[in-house]
Amino acid sequence: MSVNYGSKRIVVGAHYGLRDWLSQRITGALMALFTIILLAQLIFSRGPIGYDLWAGIFAAQWMKVLTFSVIVALLYHVWVGMRDVWMDYVQPVAIRLVLQVFTIVWLVGCAGWAIQVLWKI
């Protein structure tokens, strides 16, 4: 992509199709793995499921690191998905741009909040 002029100039497509498709698969697989790991920790736990057990799961450093990467993966996964939705159903460029900016602000804000919660434990 570094040379994009002369005979090397790419004149068709935005060429983000494959990247978005692949990243949505990879981030999706990571979140599915996280879901299974979290469920396994709950199912194979002993005793009542209360605060101590629940907070204990996220207190482990490896779980914090995994959850952090899941939050980042979720951010990108949802951005690709929501942008697809706006591109398919909202044609006026101005409204679409406003919705896309709203999506970015919403997602970055949510990700920041979730990361803050994660490191409070």
Partner: protein
């Protein structure tokens, strides 16, 4: 001059400016199509309810005290919102997550396996996705509302 072997066909119906209410409702949507649109709907639901999800993450994890507040929200409610309302929103999220999860795994499977990309598998896996997500939602919903 030889005659054309096939009789002239009736003119094809043309669709321009498809109306969402009069035209779309006449389309036959196969199970795979239902799974596909519900994948979108469930994704948008979770996107919009993201602050509620993180609020649950926050109150359930921050402290012993906030965990009690988290439980109380679902049992007695908070402010003007009664407990059953929180449970109903949580149930919607449970369905959305289950559907999105199973439909997503179906996507991954179809991406890595050629034998999964057939008309028959598309139909049967779509039926499985719809059935499994609804049955699991009902089972977890019954637990959530204290039926067992």
């Amino acid at each position: 001059m030889t005659e054309l072997a096939t009789p002239p066909r009736p003119p094809r119906r043309e669709f321009r400016n498809i109306n969402a209410f009069t035209d779309l409702t006449t389309y036959r949507l196969p199970p795979a199509g239902i799974v596909s649109i519900l994948h979108r709907v469930s994704g948008v639901i979770m996107f919009l309810l993201m602050p509620f999800i993180i609020w649950m993450f926050d109150t359930s994890l921050s402290s012993d005290y906030s965990f009690a507040k988290f439980k109380a929200a679902f049992n007695t409610g908070i402010g003007f919102a009664p407990g059953w309302f929180f449970k109903l929103v949580a149930l919607a999220l449970i369905w959305a997550y289950l559907h999105h999860f199973i439909a997503g795994l179906r996507h991954l499977w179809m991406d890595v396996s050629h034998s999964a990309v057939t008309k028959e598998f598309g139909h049967s896996s779509a039926m499985f996705t719809l059935g499994a997500s609804i049955i699991l939602t009902l089972a977890l919903g019954a637990k959530l509302f204290g039926l067992y």
